[in-house]
Symmetry: C2
Subunit: 454 residues, 2 copies
């Protein structure tokens, strides 16, 4: 066992600060715009629903932001997370490359999401807030915030998309186990819910509207978001920083860093600290954001100002988008079915600092199965996109006669996604096509009057 | 962070041998008996279904048995497992005691079971076996063997109790994801299955009969068991050995070591290495096996020879039993619904080396909820018995004005048991009573002609 399979860090090696790439973003940072005025949205537009510390992080010019000690202590329940050398996977596919993966599925909620839920709960508690509202689709973010709320004594009220509420009872039970209230959306508790009562299965857009409406109305209640915004990406950078320490122990530097990209937070979490390391140490590391071919925001979308939500209620964000009215086909990676992409990641792609790759659903599940049967862990369908991407890199390297050091993020486990594996094993898994017509229709509805940034 | 929450070991600290208490068992080791002759069952009785190395371990007089390097490497996918100081739990219940827990839920299958599945798969592969059969109830053991089979290139055929097969589709999917064949029992693939076709919901007894029948018939196929037998308990001793190293880092020795007890393997896994340590170092550590009040084998059973299975097919084992015909009420801790108890653990209880405690279902779920809301991890219902037991110890210590060092085993996570949490949260969880009449009826059917050992 001279060469270990796992590389672990001690608890005092949890990073002490987050990596903020905002001040060095290629092309400079573009502000969100108020939809009413098309003027930059300021802190005042956000203070009804976010605490001061989070608003500050959203626009901070600091290169490093200190992680409060109570947050580090709560992260210590599962961090630092392990990094593995995927020896059995390498052998099974017969590659000469060395594949490493960072595993975030050891968190209580089973994914990277608690990395941001915990500081958000902490900052809200510090600001005297007693309740958080949020929306959840498949349930990953809702469970993470429920868990984080229980750590800091905050009530959590989750609006869960109706169809998921009916189909995913176990994610719902998980949230309740951590003490959260979970409501089926559309509910009769908000004006937004009542106005949309006819849309019985609900949508993420409606659920966001319900959660934001309540937070805006009540002084003791704030709203919490699980991806896309700058502060969420910032909180995820503990992931990449740990891998810098872990690969140093292995005596390696990555040729390529890979993760899946839905809203962008898990990708940013592993990639941004390495991107800074690349600038500082003059590395030649590549970065590849991997998205589903059925919802190819980075590879088939446009770069422009669009609403963050489907209903057109949020400020306009500068990002890659398929149009906020684009409805992705129902692939099982629910966390990647988002029309837009985090502004920070979009800017990195626009500047050519990050590549994008789209992969199909069936090849992704095939890769997930190979991974489960060699490395043991059953990946979440979202995370399986990173597995597939890593195998593509390894194959390209072998074809080019190269040995690459490949680092990817396995963002979560698939314990609540086994119905999707069932469908794959039965040969019933659909492999939905992206509809360029549907995208063009949605892009035609982009908000008018915003400055062009393409 | 001078005092870390987690105590981790490096991969080269995975134990290099297993702790075998058989040669120093108080009262001496009693042999299993052949039901036909009531004579001690010898290796020949087992060679049709077990590989030589396993049979040897079943009766070994060695104090330590070396762990083969390929087994250690496969265990290295998730071992050493973390040990935590439960600071938030201590604070929540306001105890002066210090509570530590070892967490086995980080294994791919989510419990301690792979600790034995991996060496069993390895030894069978070494013996030229190409297929393993087994039975599974709730699915924990079946998934662990499916995972282990995928590590060593063995086919795995699982007979899953019919009612579980219908109600627990996700455990089934998990086994198939790792490449196992899963059959609903009773099946039409065996004589035992056909003979019991009328018992549509199946039983563990029927599933065992199906798996053993196939293994006994085919020279390339063996059978694999997940608890009760000496070799299974032996394989679990990696758990306790790691906690000896981990508590040494914390500078502590435990006043009491606790775990749940169903068949006995997870309890033995943490307790037996500490029991040896107690003899060698003259510690005053107590050991408490914790069982459900609805199936109180150790606290309400008799010590005698009984069949290991419900159908009366296996050799007679010297153990605590409620009678092989005892049908435990349907508590959610499926892994603890067993009429008997591992002979090694039974002998320890008989000799007064290990105490036994029974806890009720609702108080157990209440403890599980407190744990989830403080430590983050949602415990499996089986493991929650150990949580409840630890809280009882802490309370007793506080009442006695003592500070105890409490170590317990959290043997797995509850990701596939959330329906039980739902029932508890809804106030619908039954709290079934143990039926002494039912036990007495079952005890009256104990096999005749075996020597008395009480």
């Amino acid at each position: 066992m001279a060469d270990p399979t796992k590389i672990l860090l001690a608890e005092d090696q949890i990073p002490t600060s987050w990596v903020n790439v905002l001040p060095e973003l290629p092309g400079g940072a573009l502000p969100p715009l108020s939809p009413a005025t098309m003027e930059p949205a300021g802190p005042d537009d956000l203070s009804a629903i976010f605490p001061p510390a989070v608003i500050e992080q959203e626009v901070s010019a600091e290169h490093e932001i200190r992680i409060p000690e109570p947050v580090r202590e709560a992260l210590g329940l599962w961090r630092p997370t392990p990094m593995y050398r995927a020896r059995r996977l390498e052998e099974a596919v017969g590659t000469r490359s060395r594949i490493y993966y960072k595993y975030e599925g050891v968190s209580p909620a089973g994914s990277h999401k608690p990395n941001s839920a915990v500081p958000q709960a902490y900052y809200n508690q510090q600001a005297g807030i007693t309740k958080l509202t949020t929306e959840t689709g498949a349930g990953q973010w809702g469970s993470s915030l429920a868990f984080a709320g229980s750590m800091f004594g905050l009530e959590v009220e989750v609006y869960m998309v109706g169809s998921s509420f009916d189909q995913k009872p176990y994610r719902r039970s998980m949230m309740r186990t951590w003490g959260a209230e979970v409501h089926r959306s559309p509910s009769d508790r908000t004006e937004a819910g009542k106005a949309n009562a006819a849309f019985e299965t609900g949508s993420l857009g409606i659920a966001i509207s319900e959660a934001v409406e309540l937070a805006a109305q009540r002084p003791d209640t704030n709203y919490s978001l699980g991806s896309v915004l700058n502060h969420v990406l910032l909180h995820q950078t503990v992931i990449g920083q740990e891998t810098i320490a872990q690969l140093a122990i292995a005596g390696e530097t990555p040729d390529v860093v890979l993760a899946s990209a839905g809203g962008g937070s898990n990708f940013a979490g592993i990639a941004f600290p390495w991107w800074r390391e690349k600038q500082r140490r003059g590395l030649s590391t590549r970065f590849v954001a991997t998205e589903p071919a059925a919802c190819p925001t980075l590879t088939q979308g446009v770069y422009g100002y669009d609403f963050g939500d489907a209903s057109g209620l949020t400020p306009l964000l500068p990002m890659h988008t398929l149009g906020h009215g684009f409805v992705p086909p129902p692939v099982h990676a629910g966390g990647l079915r988002y029309h837009g992409m985090a502004p920070l990641l979009s800017a990195m792609v626009k500047a050519g600092e990050v590549e994008a790759r789209a992969v199909r659903q069936n090849e992704t599940f095939e890769a997930a199965l190979t991974f489960a049967r060699t490395e043991g862990i059953i990946p979440a369908p979202e995370s399986a996109h990173a597995v597939r991407s890593a195998l593509i890199e390894a194959q390209q390297a072998d074809e080019a006669g190269e040995e690459r050091v490949i680092l990817f993020l396995l963002s979560g486990h698939g314990h609540f996604d086994l119905a999707a594996y069932d469908a794959y094993l039965a040969g019933d898994l659909e492999d939905p096509e992206f509809s360029a017509q549907e995208r063009d229709r949605a892009l035609a509805e982009l908000p008018q009057g915003a400055p062009s940034i393409a």
